[in-house]
């Protein structure tokens, strides 16, 4: 056999293996599809996504949908896809807040694990171990059943600066703005002041500050005022203010605490990986420990931990699906209701999977962008 002949044989073998693998995969898929179709036929239904446009016919406890008239609360007359959208909105709502809070708490935990104070170190260690070695689900139900639902009832709920904390939910005061031309001027002032924070506008920050203050003053003169809409306790629920459901509160606390424990471990590992010389150099120029941490160590830490944090954010986003255990109407919960009502569980699973996949991709994408932004150009 000549060399070219053997090469040709090898190529043929490779191609046939490729075709074989694909063929087997395709065959399996076709078999699965046929089996599913038979299963559907046996039940006298067909595989279709029509149910998405049918009337939902059920209420969900919280959740808003974007309609022609702005964000409105979900109602039973809306379609199933709008129910799923409201569920996705709830998932995103709790995920975004939990990501922010767990990052803050996680950094605090990670720094505490390296505190100069032995007690703080041990406390942070115990908390981390406890949160990591027990199931998130029991933590979640504990926060809900044993903490949030044990709060005092609405009638004798404590008030803190206008906020009401009760078993029926949390009501926070909501800032309300007077409308009119003043509102737009105030908005412009806020934008101007926000521009100040951007690096690109640093050279003009004084002008921007002046302009912002002037705009704000003008708005005030034109009759722009902020006043707080304070919630008032009624018989079963409070009115006014921002209402936060007990389910949301419990899920938020559970996700935040649990993810913070993992983030704390990541931050601790990253801080320990910063070369000792950095600490010593910061010490040598006379920075206090707090400043060493804040100005020298943490900026380096954040440059390396982004991918690991991204993994935790992904986990957090997926863990919001545990909300069903306490009745929080997240995407998975709403999907469960929809599939119960319509009997379309398989189609619904495909949609839910697709949404979670896209959500995961978006999070990875954002983390990658943040990671590239944080990298020092030219540094490995």
């Amino acid at each position: 056999m000549t060399v070219s002949n053997s090469l040709r044989w090898r190529r043929l073998r490779r191609t046939s293996v490729q075709v074989g693998v694909l063929g087997i995969a395709a065959l399996l898929l076709v078999l699965l599809g046929l089996a599913v179709r038979n299963g559907f036929a046996e039940r006298g239904v067909s595989f279709s996504f029509d149910f998405l446009w049918q009337r939902a016919g059920f209420e969900i406890s919280e959740g808003r949908v974007l309609t022609w008239s702005g964000f409105t609360s979900f109602g039973a007359d809306m379609a199933n896809w709008q129910a799923l959208a409201a569920g996705l909105g709830n998932t995103l709502k709790v995920a975004v807040v939990a990501v922010l809070l767990s990052t803050l708490l996680g950094v605090a935990l990670g720094v505490s694990r390296l505190s100069t104070n032995w007690l703080i170190r041990k406390l942070a260690f115990t908390a981390t171990e406890f949160l990591r070695n027990t199931p998130l689900l029991i933590q979640l139900t504990f926060w809900y059943v044993a903490v949030v639902l044990q709060l005092p009832g609405l009638r004798d709920a404590p008030h803190f600066w206008g906020a009401i904390i009760s078993r029926q939910g949390l009501w926070l005061p909501r800032p309300e703005f007077t409308s009119g031309p003043g509102l737009w001027l105030a908005l412009a002032a806020v934008v101007t002041l926000a521009l100040m924070l951007m690096r690109r506008f640093q050279p003009w920050r004084r002008h921007l500050a002046g302009a912002g203050v002037a705009l704000l003053a003008l708005a005030f003169v034109l009759g722009f005022r902020i006043h707080l809409d304070l919630p008032e306790a009624g018989r079963f629920r409070a009115s006014g203010g921002v209402a936060i459901s007990p389910e949301f509160t419990a899920l938020l606390i559970a996700l935040t605490a649990n993810t913070a424990a993992y983030i704390g471990e990541i931050i601790r590992g990253a801080i320990e990986a910063v070369p000792r010389g950095q600490w010593e150099a910061a010490d040598a120029i006379g920075l206090s420990r707090r400043h060493q941490l804040r100005e020298v160590i943490l900026p380096q830490v954040f440059r390396v931990v982004m991918p690991s944090l991204g993994n935790q954010y992904l986990n957090l986003a997926k863990n919001t699906s545990l909300g069903i255990a306490i009745g929080y109407p997240d995407l998975f919960n709403v999907y469960g209701t929809v599939s119960n009502q319509t009997g379309r569980s398989l189609e619904g699973v495909l949609i839910a999977m697709g949404i979670y996949l896209v959500l995961s991709w978006v999070i990875s994408l954002l983390v990658n962008v943040a990671n590239n932004r944080l990298k020092i150009p030219g540094v490995r």
């Binding site: 044990q150 069903i324 699973v349």
Partner: protein, 378 residues
């Protein structure tokens, strides 16, 4: 330096190094003391632990028929022995081990006051654990063949329990069965997926990568539910018990994670190893089996043990397909109006159980990591 001076120095360095530290210490210590005092006074006086002891059977086995409970004890002994054998692979029976053992028995003696009728069986289970630990230390053949023994134990356990019917499995028993089965099945599947993801065959690589990535970006609860829903549609003729469907969901989901740990192990094996094995004329299969995989698994094992902890921690999710695992059993006990005031007792007990099992798994992972790292040249 006298011991007293040493103590004062320790206090100074660790608690009162700076004014801020001193302030923190002075704030935290009373708070901590108050919390410990509040908890202890509740646990010893106000709390009524009889609810835990009275519902121990439900918590541990769910709806398992009472007349067949001796099967559960046999299974518990076998799993304890397996755990003892696994312990012998990473921890020699030294002073720490003896102390831990004595503590275990002490806890048991305490528990006997509340549940005397199960004390002999519980003692036997603990004894099985220790006997296996000691035997494993003496007989290296046993602890070196842990994987086949574990598979054998799992099959034996499932066979022993099958006459009762999977729908009656519940409580902590179910959580442990799920963990054990999924943990053992995910490793071979993970190995296949990891090799598939690194295969030279592009289509196979794409399929495995796709599978792993999809599984890693959807929630476990969705996968378990999807499998549960899909099986009756695909196989309407063969009704599969809920437990088995749940097990399949867990296995499919966690094998993707296991594959990633094994892949990181595969990547850590130096290229020279492959080249050396190839030059010896090993076939592709032998090369992977004899040369690559043992070295890769050494790196992957701590991650895989962490994966087992994850499986155990997410096992309560089977509530979504109507199964009664440990957490669900506790919630059912609380749903009984008689026990509605005993929320904290049940939760403290469940937290403690989960924490003890979880900490044991974490501890084992850490020891295993240290042990495996010893033989590695850096």
């Amino acid at each position: 330096m006298s011991p007293m001076q040493k103590k004062i120095r320790w206090l100074h360095v660790n608690l009162f190094a700076k004014p801020a530290d001193a302030l923190l210490t002075l704030v935290v210590v009373p708070l901590l003391l108050w919390a410990v005092w509040a908890f202890l006074s509740w646990a010893l006086t106000a709390a009524d632990w009889s609810v835990v002891f009275n519902s121990l059977k439900v918590l541990m086995t769910g709806t398992f028929p009472s007349s067949k409970l001796w099967l559960v004890w046999i299974v518990a002994g076998m799993i304890a022995a397996l755990a003892g054998l696994a312990t012998s692979a990473s921890i020699p029976f030294g002073r720490t081990a003896a102390v831990i053992a004595v503590l275990c028995y002490l806890v048991l003696v305490l528990a006997i006051f509340g549940a005397a009728h199960i004390a002999p069986q519980a003692l036997l289970v603990l004894a099985a654990f220790h006997a296996a630990w000691l035997i494993g230390l003496r007989v290296p053949v046993l602890r070196e063949n842990l994987a086949p023994i574990a598979f054998g134990t799992l099959i034996a356990v499932l066979v022993i329990l099958s006459p009762v019917g999977p729908s009656n499995w519940g409580g902590l028993l179910l959580s442990i069965l799920i963990t054990l089965t999924a943990a053992l099945l995910t490793i071979p599947l993970g190995i296949l997926l990891a090799f598939g993801r690194q295969s030279k065959i592009a289509s196979l690589r794409a399929l495995c990568t796709g599978y792993i990535e999809v599984m890693r970006s959807v929630p476990l609860i969705l996968v378990v539910f999807c499998i549960w829903v899909a099986f009756p549609l695909v196989l309407p003729k063969f009704p599969i018990p809920d437990v088995v469907r749940g097990l399949i969901g867990f296995t499919l989901f966690y094998s993707a994670y296991a594959a990633e740990f094994i892949r990181s192990g595969l990547q850590s094996v130096a290229k020279g190893q492959t080249e050396a094995a190839e030059s010896l004329g090993l076939s592709d299969f032998d090369l992977k089996r004899i040369v690559i995989l043992p070295q890769a698994l050494r790196v992957a094992v701590p991650g895989l043990v962490g994966n087992i902890l994850d499986i155990f921690n997410y096992a309560p999710l089977v509530f979504i397909i109507g199964l009664t695992d440990f957490l669900r059993a506790g919630q059912m006990i609380l749903a009984n109006p008689e026990n509605s005031a005993r929320t904290y007792e049940i939760y403290v007990f469940m937290f403690l159980t989960y924490f003890v099992v979880g900490s044991i798994i974490t501890f084992q992972a850490r020891r295993l990591e240290q042990k495996l790292n010893k033989g590695v040249r850096k």
